[in-house]
């Protein structure tokens, strides 16, 4: 086994640790740093429960090898709120019943935050038409397509859609 020392800035705190080359970013967050918000759902990049923000972008932390992200800045669901003030996306999920069991929710929240930022930057999606103005409130189809990497086995999609719509205003 080879261990390599890495430094990560996680939710604003610098963390230095030696990690097995095989460790995913998800395993390091959960098992080494005690941040169990990001969930191990499928461990294959298909369910999105492990979604975190890596250098500002949403990614599947289960497929990111920790050693390959030396010096990265990571935001997990634990880092979305500002103290006791929930992130607007978190507030909207509560307001609109965007969850049932809650297992997929940390990934949904981080994915939604990253996705709204992608919209703000004008990134198109597969359903964006040539004449669509991404500065407008996103359509239901835009939100559904952009959230395709986050599954919810409870089927709370109606609430998730409403919450993201609310947060995008």
């Amino acid at each position: 086994m080879e261990a390599i020392e890495i430094v990560l800035t996680v939710n604003g705190d610098e963390r230095r640790l030696a990690v097995d080359t095989r460790a995913s970013l998800l395993d390091v967050l959960r098992e080494r740093l005690g941040l169990t918000g990001a969930k191990k759902g499928c461990d294959h990049g298909q369910c999105g429960a492990c979604t975190v923000l890596l250098d500002g972008r949403r990614v599947n932390s289960c497929l990111a090898l920790a050693v390959a992200h030396q010096g990265a800045e990571v935001i997990t669901v634990e880092g979305l709120a500002d103290g006791d003030d929930l992130h607007p996306v978190q507030r909207a999920f509560i307001e609109e019943d965007g969850f049932q069991c809650g297992y997929c929710t940390p990934g949904q929240l981080c994915s939604a935050v990253g996705m709204l930022d992608e919209l703000k930057q004008g990134w198109p999606s597969a359903v964006t038409g040539d004449d669509d103005d991404l500065g407008d409130e996103p359509s239901d189809d835009e939100i559904r397509e952009r959230m395709n990497g986050n599954l919810c086995r409870c089927g709370a999609y109606a609430g998730i859609l409403a919450a993201i719509k609310e947060a995008s205003r």
Partner: protein
């Protein structure tokens, strides 16, 4: 996952030298396919050479009016690139038709080209598979193959190449720039990928240690009107059953030039050369599109459970070409 050594390369020559020093090295891009395959036991390198830190993360215009795309450019950045969206919309659409936002943020251009098939037997180490374990057999030929190849397959392998991006690049005649132990070379697409023959373990013509550093898109003015359409078993986040990348150049009601490539039908992104030859010089009408598509599919060899792809792909091709009129 089997233990491995990790090294981060800072330049191509260093990456190649590090690769060559280990018996079973692999290059690491975004990891979205490779890390999964390592976890499944399908891939077990003893050394990973991380090439995401190499200075190949830019999209630049070339003097000839094309684009040079660095191999480390992330799929999401390429899909959103203004020059790509303006001059090669088929490429942006193909990228956005694939995977999820999270995966596109990690995945690189080089890694996307070199991703492995999603044939269920390849990904399951408890099953035989000539691609994963040469000589062990191909259960897909008589088994679960409804989503596998209709063109160019062999007795030893009926897998399809899973990339959407590569289909658009094959249509555009992209040129892959490679560095390797034997020096640099260029490979024109669709020639990067190869048909399975009796060595399906080789997906591409790359030699061991060769590293993709860039993909160059030649100038193709009429590609400013181009389109990608993908049919899959659910509305989003699934691999193609059939996908079509097309560009069409019409003047005075006649097809001057065209490009059509298909995904989900072969071991390679399938450039429909017979279709293109038939269509060049023909009237730009639905009837011509049908005749040209049928010329292409005359060489299809569907398997027991995937003959449905022939009319499906033909209809999607005709529909896309009509949209481009």
């Amino acid at each position: 996952m089997r233990p491995f050594v990790y090294r981060r390369a800072t330049d191509a020559q260093g990456a190649v030298a590090t690769f060559e020093a280990a018996p079973h090295a692999m290059y690491l891009g975004g990891g979205t396919n490779l890390v999964d395959l390592m976890r499944l036991g399908v891939a077990s390198p003893d050394l990973l050479v991380d090439v995401t830190g190499l200075p190949y993360d830019q999209v630049e215009e070339t003097p000839g009016g094309g684009l040079r795309i660095g191999a480390a450019v992330r799929n999401s950045d390429l899909a959103a690139d203004a020059a790509v969206r303006r001059s090669y919309p088929v490429l942006s659409q193909a990228l956005l038709a694939g995977a999820s936002g999270q995966l596109r943020n990690l995945a690189t251009v080089g890694g996307n080209l070199l991703q492995r098939t999603r044939c269920p037997y390849f990904q399951d180490v408890s099953k035989p598979c000539n691609k994963r374990d040469p000589g062990s057999g191909c259960p897909a030929r008589e088994g679960e193959h409804h989503n596998l190849a209709i063109f160019g397959h062999s007795a030893s392998c009926v897998a399809t190449h899973p990339s959407d991006m590569a289909v658009a690049m094959a249509a555009l005649g992209a040129v892959v720039h490679v560095e390797g132990p034997g020096g640099p070379r260029r490979i024109g697409m669709p020639g990067l990928h190869r048909l399975p023959g009796d060595t399906p373990e080789r997906d591409t013509v790359l030699e061991p240690g060769e590293l993709i550093v860039a993909v160059e898109l030649p100038a193709l003015p009429y590609a400013a009107r181009s389109r990608y359409r993908k049919v899959r078993e659910r509305a989003s986040f699934a691999f193609a059953v059939v996908a079509v990348a097309a560009a069409l150049d019409v003047a005075d009601g006649v097809v001057r030039d065209c490009r059509v490539a298909l995904g989900g039908v072969a071991h390679v992104p399938w450039r429909a050369e017979l279709l293109e030859t038939t269509l060049r010089g023909a009237p730009a009408t639905r009837e011509s599109f049908v005749v040209a598509a049928e010329a292409e599919f005359a060489q299809a060899r569907p398997l027991r459970d995937n003959a449905y792809k022939v009319p499906l792909a033909r209809n999607v091709i005709v529909g896309v070409l009509e949209e481009l009129l």
